[in-house]
């Protein structure tokens, strides 16, 4: 049951990245870190302290960073590029497309401050399109872990996977509820509850909101299946199908534009294999703005009550 999930603490997912890259670095001497003048924001201090010779500061030059990372892979290194999500994707899309994705380079593009919860820095930094941009690239793996512990596990796991990866995480302190030292299986959906009335598919920070909404539904006697789709590509088609064939309706929740994000990936599975009513929770074709993370989630319709409302709508549509 969702009510049995315990919050261990509140921590920034980017902190999980910082710990994860340190551990990945200890396990594999080929892991190197690059940053475009954001080593503090990206929590790289511990890695740099232990492995100063495996760190590259490229300056505020993201395009150069991606190219350098692509080049480093040819020498057998496993480069992790680090900057904000906005500058990790849109800023350098052609570099990623040509030099990383098309040529199948083993670059790990690690992106913090994604989504609305970037907060005060506002629209210029608040990318809500990056999942779409990255999942459209052939061969790119796209991972959006839900909390600190999972971000740490994913950061380590991608060092053991050969191929380009986009790893997306965030800025604020957030409920940390998945186990420490968990195994992380790329491409495998995580079922947080079993239910038969409705599926809620979420990624990133929104997984916690989905749990909150799911708890309220459980209290109302609705049997909810909350599924953490931490890997948006490759998508766990089998897992999603198994869930929707049982529940017959779904809600998707993401800190991203509903055009081109997790919701569309789930909807494509449904459309192709098992059509059901699906309601989307996410930003709706808009840019963000400055504000406190929680307030922005409310304003843009990404809060727990929005997931609840979407669930109620999906349940009604299922009946008709």
């Amino acid at each position: 049951m969702l009510k049995d999930i315990v919050v261990l603490n509140e921590k920034e997912t980017r902190g999980g990245f910082g710990e994860g890259i340190l551990e990945a670095g200890r396990k594999n001497p080929n892991v190197v870190a690059l940053t475009a003048d954001l080593l503090g924001s990206m929590k790289l201090q511990a890695f740099i302290k232990e492995f100063p010779e495996r760190f590259v500061q490229v300056g505020i030059a993201e395009a150069n960073m991606i190219g350098i990372a692509a080049g480093l892979t040819i020498g057998g290194k496993i480069p992790y590029t680090t900057t904000f999500a906005n500058f990790s994707t849109g800023r350098v899309y052609d570099q990623i497309r040509q030099s990383v994705a098309y040529s199948g380079k083993n670059v790990k593009i690690c992106a913090s401050h994604a989504g609305l919860t970037l907060g005060e820095d506002g629209a210029t930094h608040q990318i809500l399109e990056d999942i779409g941009l990255m999942k459209m690239l052939p061969g790119m793996t796209v991972i959006v872990p839900c909390d600190f512990n999972q971000t740490k596990a994913a950061t380590i796991a991608i060092s053991e996977y050969e191929g380009p990866v986009y790893l997306r995480f965030g800025r604020p302190k957030w409920p940390n509820f998945t186990p420490e030292n968990q195994p992380f299986e790329i491409g495998k959906a995580q079922f947080l509850s079993e239910g038969k009335d409705i599926s809620i598919f979420a990624c990133g920070h929104m997984v916690w909101k989905a749990i909150e909404a799911g708890r309220i539904l459980e209290e109302k006697g609705v049997s909810v299946e909350v599924v953490n789709i931490h890997t948006i590509k490759p998508l766990d088609v089998e897992g999603i199908l198994k869930s929707i064939q049982k529940t017959g309706c779904a809600v998707t929740a993401e800190e991203h534009n509903i055009i081109g994000g997790l919701g569309d990936s789930v909807a494509q599975v449904a459309a192709r294999h098992f059509p059901i009513p699906i309601e989307y929770v996410g930003t709706n074709d808009t840019f963000g703005e400055s504000g406190k993370p929680e307030d922005l989630l409310v304003k843009y319709g990404l809060d727990t009550p929005n997931i609840l409302a979407a669930a109620e709508k999906a349940l009604i549509r299922k009946k008709h």
Partner: protein, 269 residues
């Protein structure tokens, strides 16, 4: 040019920006202070702008490419009457148009910026438009030193002389610090004058806190229509005006707490 009133305006810019950043708990006060004197001179005596008509066709354009330091630009626009000063209270608050990276929603602001390395290409476009339309305005682009790491700028530095954009004046706020490091340690820009000269720009070097020097240089750079774009390297101090902020890496991101706020305000008065 009245150095006294410009110095006073610079002080007001700093105090206003400090209060905004303090109230909003936002960042980037160091980079706002380093360019405060430059902004004061620009708005007091150099830019042809009209607060009552911010979209005036032949206004001079100032593009703030280092959009994170917007508190100082919002402050000077408010002080000059582009909008009521009270509206600055909403800076960084939920629902406000005063985003914590410079926002084109605000009267007097030409472009939104925040992602570094975007201002100069747009400035080149504006300068080119003025040339093609035979309009008199001058385009100014205020950039940071760390921002010069971005390759997009160097594409513009290469192109502007080719296009003969002598109506373009770039100002570099050379405060020697970027996000969490000194510029010389991240990517040393030196020798900077020679780089620009090799790119065929007319180069000026000034103390970015000397009001008279800023004025003389900017006004002559603006006036000279001699076929070449101008770049003004302004040597500045990050956090200028508050002793515990000056030259400190910390004050790129840090937001002042109540004690620091009062102390800083005391020093600026």
């Amino acid at each position: 040019m009245d150095a006294k009133s410009t110095t006073y305006l610079a002080g007001e810019i700093r105090k206003t920006a400090l209060s905004m950043v303090y109230e909003a708990k936002s960042s980037h006060i160091g980079g706002a202070f380093s360019m405060a004197d430059i902004l004061a001179v620009l708005y007091e005596d150099v830019l042809h702008v009209d607060p009552s008509e911010p979209k005036m066709v032949d206004r001079d354009r100032l593009l703030l490419s280092k959009g994170h330091a917007c508190s100082a630009l919002y402050a000077v626009l408010g002080l000059k009457g582009f909008f009521p000063m009270e509206s600055l209270a909403s800076y960084g608050q939920d629902g406000s148009s005063f985003l914590t990276h410079i926002s084109h929603y605000i009267p007097g602001v030409e472009i939104s910026a925040g992602s570094l390395g975007h201002g100069l290409p747009i400035a080149c476009g504006l300068a080119l438009a003025a040339k093609r339309k035979a309009r008199p305005w001058t385009t100014f682009c205020l950039m940071s030193d760390g921002e010069l790491d971005e390759g997009s700028n160097w594409e513009s530095f290469l192109l502007a002389p080719q296009l003969g954009l002598d109506n373009l004046v770039v100002i570099i706020d050379y405060n020697k610090i970027q996000s969490l490091g000194f510029v010389k340690d991240v990517i040393d820009l030196e020798p900077l004058i020679q780089k620009f000269e090799a790119f065929k720009w007319e180069v000026f070097t000034i103390d970015g806190h000397e009001i008279q020097e800023i004025y003389t240089t900017l006004s002559s750079a603006k006036a000279a229509r001699n076929g070449v774009p101008k770049v003004v390297i302004a040597h500045t101090v990050k956090g200028k005006g508050v002793d515990f902020m000056e030259n400190k890496l910390l004050w790129h991101y840090k937001s002042p707490n109540a004690t620091e706020y009062q102390q800083a305000l005391g020093q600026l008065d």
